[in-house]
C-alpha cells in the first residue's frame, strides 16, 4: 500500500510539473505579448506611447528575458505562493483570483458528488424497472443531457428563468456580493449553487446513469441472481447485496476521470452564467494576453484535476483492495 502510494504520488508530482510547463508555454504561443497588445490598444484609441516606455514596461515585467528563464522565475515564485502579477488588473494574481479559486473548487467537487449521488440510484431504478415509463423518461433526459452542451442548457434555463421573472446568474445576491464571508453569505451561496451544479453536472450524470443501467442489466441476467431469487431472497436485499455492488465497480473506478470532464464543462457554463469563478477570468485574461494570470488559472485548473484524480485513486485503494494490484497504470 505505501509503496503504491509513493509511486502514485511521485507520478502525480511529475504530471503537475508537466502541466505547469504546458500552462506556461501555451500562454506564450500567441504572437506578441501583453505590451504589444497594450501598444495596439493605444494605437487604436489614437494615443501615442513611445518605444522607450514600452521597452521599459517589458523590462519591468521581465518579458525581455528568454521564455525558459521566465518560466523558472514564475515556477519558483509559485512554489513560494507568489503567482505573479496581473498586468491588466494591476494587482498580484493571488489577489485577482481571490475567492474565485475556492469557489471553483467548491462547485467542481459538489458537482462531482451530486453527479454520483443522483446517477447511481437512477441507474439502479432504471435497470430494475427496465422499459417502464420512468426508465424511458430517464433515458430521454439522459440523451438530452448528453447532446445538450452546457452553455446551451445554461442559456435555455436562463431564458426560462428570465421569463418567469426570476434572477439568474452569479453566485451571490447583490447584498452579499462584496460582503465579508459570514454564515449568511454561505447560506446565500448555497441558494445559488443548485443551478450551476445542475447545468455542469447534467451530461456527466447522464453518462454515469447509462453506464450504471447497462452494467446492472448485464449483472441482473446472470445465473447467481436467478439462483438467489430461486432460493427466496427478498428482491431488495438480493439486488443491493450482489449485482449492485458488482455494477458499482466500473463507475466508482472512473471517478477520477469525471473530474477533467466537470472542470472542462464548468469553464464555459461559468462564463455564460457569469459566475465569480476562474472560468470567466481565464477567458478575459486569454484575450488580453495577461499571461501570468492566464497561466496561473490554467495551471490551477490542471492542478485541481490531477490532485483530485490522485485523491480519488487513493480513496479507491482504501475502499477496494483489489485495485491495488492492477492500479490505473496497468
Amino acid at each position: 500500500m505505501s509503496s503504491y502510494f509513493f509511486r502514485r504520488l511521485a507520478y502525480m508530482l511529475v504530471i503537475v510539473w508537466l502541466t505547469s510547463i504546458a500552462s506556461f508555454l501555451i500562454i506564450q504561443l500567441p504572437a506578441g505579448d501583453f505590451v504589444t497588445n497594450l501598444a495596439t490598444q493605444y494605437a487604436r484609441s489614437g494615443r501615442d506611447i513611445d518605444q522607450a516606455k514600452l521597452d521599459n514596461l517589458r523590462r519591468q515585467f521581465g518579458l525581455d528575458r528568454p521564455v525558459y528563464v521566465q518560466y523558472f522565475h514564475w515556477a519558483a515564485n509559485v512554489l513560494q505562493g507568489d503567482w505573479g502579477w496581473s498586468f491588466r488588473l494591476r494587482q498580484p494574481v493571488v489577489d485577482a483570483v481571490g475567492d474565485r479559486a475556492g469557489l471553483t473548487a467548491a462547485i467542481t467537487l459538489s458537482t462531482l458528488l451530486i453527479t454520483y449521488v443522483v446517477a447511481i440510484p437512477i441507474g439502479i431504478y432504471s435497470a430494475t424497472h427496465q422499459y417502464s415509463i420512468a426508465d424511458y423518461f430517464a433515458m430521454f433526459v439522459g440523451f438530452l443531457g448528453m447532446a445538450m452542451p452546457g452553455f446551451m442548457l445554461a442559456l435555455i434555463l436562463m431564458y426560462g428563468f428570465l421569463n418567469a421573472g426570476l434572477s439568474v446568474g452569479g453566485l451571490f445576491s447583490p447584498d452579499y456580493m462584496r460582503a465579508e464571508w459570514s454564515l449568511d453569505k454561505v447560506i446565500d451561496l448555497l441558494k445559488h449553487l443548485p443551478l450551476p451544479i445542475l447545468i455542469i453536472g447534467l451530461s456527466g450524470t447522464a453518462d454515469l446513469t447509462r453506464i450504471m443501467r447497462a452494467t446492472l442489466l448485464d449483472e441482473l441476467g446472470k445465473q447467481y441472481v436467478i439462483t438467489a431469487r430461486a432460493k427466496g431472497l427478498y428482491e431488495t436485499k438480493l439486488i443491493f447485496k450482489y449485482p449492485v455492488r458488482v455494477a458499482l465497480n466500473p463507475i466508482i473506478s472512473t471517478i477520477g476521470f469525471e473530474l477533467p470532464y466537470i472542470v472542462s464543462g464548468g469553464v464555459i457554463v461559468e462564463m455564460v452564467l457569469n459566475l465569480p469563478t476562474t472560468g470567466p477570468l481565464l477567458y478575459s485574461s486569454l484575450l488580453t494576453e495577461d499571461m501570468f494570470l492566464a497561466s496561473s488559472i490554467l495551471f490551477f485548473l490542471c492542478f485541481l484535476t490531477v490532485v483530485g484524480m490522485f485523491i480519488s485513486d487513493m480513496v479507491l485503494v482504501l475502499v477496494d483492495p483489489r485495485i491495488r494490484f492492477t492500479g490505473r497504470e496497468a
Binding site: I15, L18, T19, A22, S23, I26, I27, L29, P30, A31, F143, L144, M146, A147, M148, P149, F151, M152, L155, I156, M158, Y159, L162, N163, V168, G169, F257, L259, P260, Y261, V263, S264, G265, V267, I268, M271, V272, L282, Y283, L286, L287, A294, I297, L298, L301, C302, T305, V306, M309, R328, E329
Partner: protein
C-alpha cells in the same frame, strides 16, 4: 422453423443443422432463415444487426439529410448567406400557412408584415398583414450561385415573390435570413467534426499501433503521454490554444487550426483502443505466419491487423464526432473559434451570448437545436454501429 428465428436460438440449435443447410444446394430465394444466417458474410451479419436498431436507422437518416443539405446549401437556402434585408432586422419567423383568414385553401403561402418602431424602447415591432399574401413557389429563380465551380444557376428550392420575403427561422440583427445561414453554417459545423476526427484518427491509430505493436519503452512513453493528455481538462486547453491562433488568419486557416486543436485532445482514447487490439492480435498465428513469409511490418499493420478491428474503429470514430462538433460550437460561441464572416452554427450562436437579447429574439437560439439534433443522431448511429460491430454477440 419460423421465419423470424432469433439468431441466439439458431446458434444453440447446434452444428448439425448448419452443415446440413450448407450441403443442400438450393436457389438463394429458397433458403430458410436459418440457412441464410449461416451463409451470411460478416458484413451481411453486421448490416442485419444494425437494421434491427431502429434508432440507429433514424439517426443515420437524419444525418444523411443534414449532410445533403449542407452540400446543396445554395439550392436549399432561399437566400445567399450574406444578403441583408435592411428593412427586416430581427424579424420573427414567418410561418407558412395553407388557409387564409377566411379559411379558404390557398396553397402554401406567407403573409407580409408591416414594421413599426416602439419609440420608447426603439424596438422594431412587426405586425402580420393578412391582406398581403405571397404564395410559396418552388424551383424559383433566386440570386445566382456557383454549382461546385462548374456552372452558375439561380434555381432555388423555394422562395416567394418580391416584395414578400420568407424567413423560416426569422432574421438576425442585420436582417439576414437565419434559415439560409443555418443551412450554410452546416457546411463548416458538420465538416469540422469529420476533419477533426480524421486527424485524431490518424494520430490515434499511428501512435496506438506503434505502442501496441512494438511495446517496450516506446509503449511506456506513449501511454504516459496519453495519460497526461487525459488528465488535462479540455476546455481550458482548447480556449488557450485557440486564443493563440493569429487574428489575421483567413477562414480556411482558422478552420484547420481549430480542427487540429480539437483533434489534439481526441486521439488518446482511440490510441488506447488500438493499442489494446494490437496487443491482442499480434500474438496470433497468422501474424507470425505473415512475418515468417517476409511481409513488412508496415503491411502487417495496415493489411492484416487494422482491417481486423476496423469495425471498432468505425464505432469509436462515429461516437467522437459529436464531441468535436460541440467543441467547435463552444469555441465559436465564445468568439475564440471561427469568426464572422465565416458562418457556422457556433458563430450564429455567438449573438445569443447576451441573455437579454435572447429573451426578446428567441429565434436566435434555433441554431442550437440543430447542434442538439446532430449530436443525438450521431449518438444513435454510433449505438447501432456498436451493436453491429460484433454481430456474434447477443
Amino acid at each position: 422453423m419460423a421465419d423470424k428465428l432469433h439468431p441466439a436460438e439458431l446458434r444453440s440449435s447446434g452444428l448439425g443443422s448448419a452443415s446440413d443447410a450448407i450441403t443442400v444446394k438450393k436457389g438463394h430465394a429458397e433458403l430458410s432463415a436459418e440457412e441464410r444466417y449461416y451463409l451470411a458474410s460478416q458484413w451481411q451479419m453486421m448490416w442485419r444487426k444494425f437494421r434491427r436498431h431502429k434508432l440507429a436507422i433514424v439517426g443515420g437518416a437524419v444525418l444523411l439529410v443534414l449532410y445533403l443539405s449542407a452540400i446543396f446549401a445554395d439550392f436549399l437556402a432561399p437566400y445567399p448567406k450574406e444578403i441583408r434585408f435592411e428593412k427586416f432586422a430581427y424579424r420573427p419567423p414567418t410561418p407558412v400557412h395553407l388557409f387564409d383568414e377566411e379559411g379558404q385553401f390557398r396553397g402554401p403561402f406567407v403573409y407580409g408584415t408591416t414594421k413599426e418602431r416602439n419609440m420608447e424602447t426603439l424596438e422594431a415591432i412587426y405586425t402580420v398583414d393578412t391582406s398581403a399574401v405571397y404564395p410559396l413557389r418552388f424551383f424559383v429563380q433566386g440570386e445566382p450561385y456557383d454549382v461546385f465551380g462548374l456552372f452558375e444557376t439561380g434555381i432555388r428550392l423555394f422562395g416567394v415573390e418580391e416584395p414578400g420575403a420568407i424567413f423560416l427561422f426569422g432574421t438576425d440583427s442585420l436582417g439576414r435570413d437565419l434559415f439560409s445561414r443555418i443551412v450554410h453554417g452546416a457546411r463548416l459545423s458538420l465538416s469540422i467534426g469529420l476533419v477533426g476526427v480524421s486527424l485524431s484518427f490518424l494520430i490515434g491509430v499511428t501512435l496506438g499501433g506503434i505502442s501496441g505493436y512494438f511495446g517496450g519503452v516506446v509503449d511506456t512513453i506513449i501511454q504516459r503521454m496519453i495519460e497526461f493528455f487525459m488528465s488535462i481538462p479540455t476546455t481550458p486547453l482548447w480556449l488557450a490554444l485557440s486564443a493563440a491562433l493569429p487574428k489575421d488568419w483567413s477562414i480556411v486557416r482558422v478552420y484547420f487550426g481549430i480542427s487540429i486543436i480539437l483533434s489534439l485532445v481526441g486521439w488518446g482514447a482511440l490510441a488506447r483502443v488500438v493499442r489494446g487490439k494490437f496487443l491482442e492480435l499480434r500474438e496470433l498465428d497468422y501474424v507470425l505466419a505473415a512475418r515468417v513469409s517476409g511481409v513488412s511490418e508496415w503491411s502487417i499493420i495496415w493489411v492484416h491487423l487494422v482491417p481486423n478491428f476496423a469495425s471498432y474503429l468505425i464505432v469509436h470514430v462515429t461516437l467522437s464526432i459529436p464531441g468535436m462538433i460541440l467543441g467547435e460550437t463552444a469555441l465559436s460561441f465564445l468568439g475564440l473559434g471561427l469568426r464572422s464572416p465565416a458562418v457556422s452554427w457556433g458563430v450564429l450562436l455567438e449573438k445569443a451570448q447576451n441573455i437579454a437579447s435572447v429573451a426578446i429574439y428567441w429565434w436566435t437560439l434555433v441554431p442550437a437545436l440543430f447542434v442538439v439534433i446532430t449530436v443525438v443522431a450521431f449518438n444513435f448511429l454510433g449505438d447501432g454501429l456498436r451493436d453491429a460491430a460484433d454481430p456474434y454477440k447477443q
